[in-house]
């Protein structure tokens, strides 16, 4: 039977294993988890019984295949949860990470899979939120006269007209006018196109240097 502490240990060991490309020590794991090395050793012995790892010289943790698989699974859950909490729910990254540490032990594989699927949908709101580590700015976030490169157009349905007018990923557009209500006029291929705020805010852009 695995405990939260055990899962934390496996996860930490996996992280360290990747980071230093070698076997982690109990001290290293302890400092990553903010617990004492004694506790780590105690937990490691318990995991050794389950066949997840071998404790060499009472210090070095050698993960078994089963242990690596388990650690990676927890790591993955942690990442998915952290991403969901920060990118989609808008929590601070540090708070999201802390919360993910708690939730990762309770969440089922099924839920993780679906959550991940939700965030990587080819269309839909999940994708834009997950893709960038920080929010990608939209057309409406820039002042008049800025030249911008379109990164993606998220307008769901009914916006083929934008593509027909040349507002497509990769195209360079210039903001000609922007009103207080955030309706904008952009110049694309020499033509001025007026856009409602909700459409302009679904066009993600980056500033041209």
């Amino acid at each position: 039977m695995r405990t939260s502490a055990g899962e934390d240990l496996l996860e930490a060991a996996c992280i360290l294993r990747e980071r230093k490309k070698g076997m982690p020590t109990a001290g290293e794991v302890a400092s990553l988890l903010f617990v004492s090395p004694e506790n780590v050793r105690k937990e490691a012995l318990r995991l050794e019984e389950g066949g997840y790892l071998r404790l060499i010289n009472d210090d070095i943790l050698e993960l078994s295949e089963k242990g690596i698989e388990e650690g990676m699974r927890i790591m993955k859950k942690h990442r998915v949860l952290e991403c969901f909490l920060s990118e989609i729910l808008g929590m601070k990254r540090s708070a999201a990470s802390e919360e993910a540490c708690i939730l990762e032990h309770a969440i089922s594989d099924e839920t993780t899979r679906r959550l991940e699927g939700f965030m990587t949908l080819p269309r839909g709101r999940g994708r834009r939120l997950q893709r960038g580590r920080k929010r990608i700015p939209a057309l409406v976030d820039f002042p008049e006269g800025t030249d911008l490169k379109v990164l993606s157009v998220l307008c769901p349905g009914g916006c083929e007209r934008l593509g027909d007018l040349g507002i497509l990923p990769g195209e360079v557009v210039r903001i000609v006018h922007i009103l207080n209500g955030k309706a904008v006029v952009v110049r694309v291929k020499g033509c001025d196109i007026a856009l409602s705020p909700e459409i302009a805010s679904s066009i993600l852009v980056e500033r041209m240097e």
Binding site: G158, H177, A183, G190, C191, A194, L195, P197, I199
Partner: protein, 616 residues
Amino acid sequence: MKIGLIGNPNVGKSLIFHQLTGIGVEVSNYPGTTVNLLSGALCYGKERIELVDLPGIYSLDGRSPEEEIVRNFIRNGDVERLVAILDATHLERNLYLLLQVAEYRIPLIVVLNLMDEAAKQGIEIDSEKLSSILGVEVIPVTAIQGKNVQEIVPAVLFRSRIPGITVPYDLHIEAAIRSLVTIHGVSRVAALQALQGTAVTGDLAESAATLAAEIEEAHRMSVPQIIAGNRHHCAGRIADRVVAKRQQAPPGSLESILASRVSGPLILTFVLIAILLAVFFIGSFLEELLVGAFESLAIQPFLSLDPPPLEKQVGLAVLLAFQAGLGIAFPFIFTFYIFISLLEDSGYLTRAAFLADSIMHRLGMHGQGIIPLILGFGCNVPAIMSIRLLRTRRERVIASFLVSMVPCSARTVIIAGIVAAFAGIGAALSIYLIIFLLIIGTGLALSRITPGERYGMILELTPLRVPRPENVIAKSWYRIREFLLIAMPLLVAASIVLGLLQYAGFFDLFAKIIAPFSETVLGLPGYATTALFFGILRKEMALETLVILSGTADLGSVLTTGQIYVFALISVLFIPCISTVGVLLRVAGARVTFLVSLYTLILGICIGAIINILII
């Protein structure tokens, strides 16, 4: 032989059509004014040609009504040749549509219009090179001066060719097209459209959807976006090879003032108020002249003939209808349309739509919705017709309600004729204020409760141009024709019915029945409410009927100021006139028409009752 004119909005298609056929069609500087297909006949040698002016579109794969009309038209093989009209000042964007048209493999020629403006902007186009790239004849034209327009017809008749250019699509798209073509035996065009999910059903749609999903997964972009990207890329490469631009045209300072955040809304408000005032004064001036002339030239001679009572009643009704239609409504409406056509042709109307976008959003529409509302001040009939330009049913429903409440010129006549005359100009303005508040309130409420999808505005701002007088007059005439052909016959018919009812003594009977309700709820004598109800047939007739029924033109002597105010307010709010109801039925359907009528009826009575309690 049937020949279609195809091109983006605002490239001068209608102008060329007009010059080739001589029919007075609308030549417009507002995207999407040609919704119905206009066709005209002409002869060249022995060949009889039917020329069809197709609505301006940006793409053949979209889902807007105009795009569907054009797609069906050219796909069903109705058309034998095409004239593709391109705007020389925006060649790249225009080539995008041409590349799509080329896929239909219909013999065509290309007309490069607006060569004069291109030259002014320092753009030079090598039309021979363009011709060899596209594999079809290219004719440079300046339609506004009529330059080279005469070459179009012989060229399309004798030298049309199927374009040799094809867009190289992305490998995955090409592979998908190949498999759709092999499995389902459809054309390349049909396969492309199926991949984009337009205009397909059944097995083809199913396999196309599967393929499209795979491509989207791999590209992280929707199929329409990939296809549009490929086409734009191809159009851009062609444009690079044939266009030489000497210098960048400086941005117009007028342009920046008209649509800027600070001065734009101020100018818009000023322009609209100025137009309403100008129409009010010019209209009243012309009305006096025309009504006076009508009185002395038609009505007096008719009365002096002293016909028998029934004939006299009917004859008078017809004359009064013409007097009201031509003498009262016409001056206001025509003046109004001249101003609107000026706004439209100068390119200001699209800027007005842009500026009004955020306000119109609150009312449940978007920027383009302001056009029908403005038109409604002239006559609700053409305003309702223009509702067809709105993209979603939701917007059309909301616009139907709001436009029907806009005080048209006939209602202006009532407000000016009795309220301003008997209760003062302040009272007249307060009626406008009440109506505007009610329109805004109705819009706010409807935007919450009307079902349906919302789309935002995606609108090309048309270039600012100096309007040409003959176009302005032609367009005003085109609009007024809708009033004359649809509203006038109904006006005359309604007037005759009213005359007969009056002859049969029906009014007195109605007045007796309605009197208890009228006096207690609205505080109006029975005959005034009778006049109100018959105002449904014709708005300004409410005033006339009131004069006839009360037996005096000096309404101040029989009604109190408060009663006059209530009468005017109710008649302005009341069910739209019968002509508006007729057009609403055609444009918005029976259900919406019924709801609009019921709503305005209830609103009129309620507001009347409230004002009655407050001030009488």
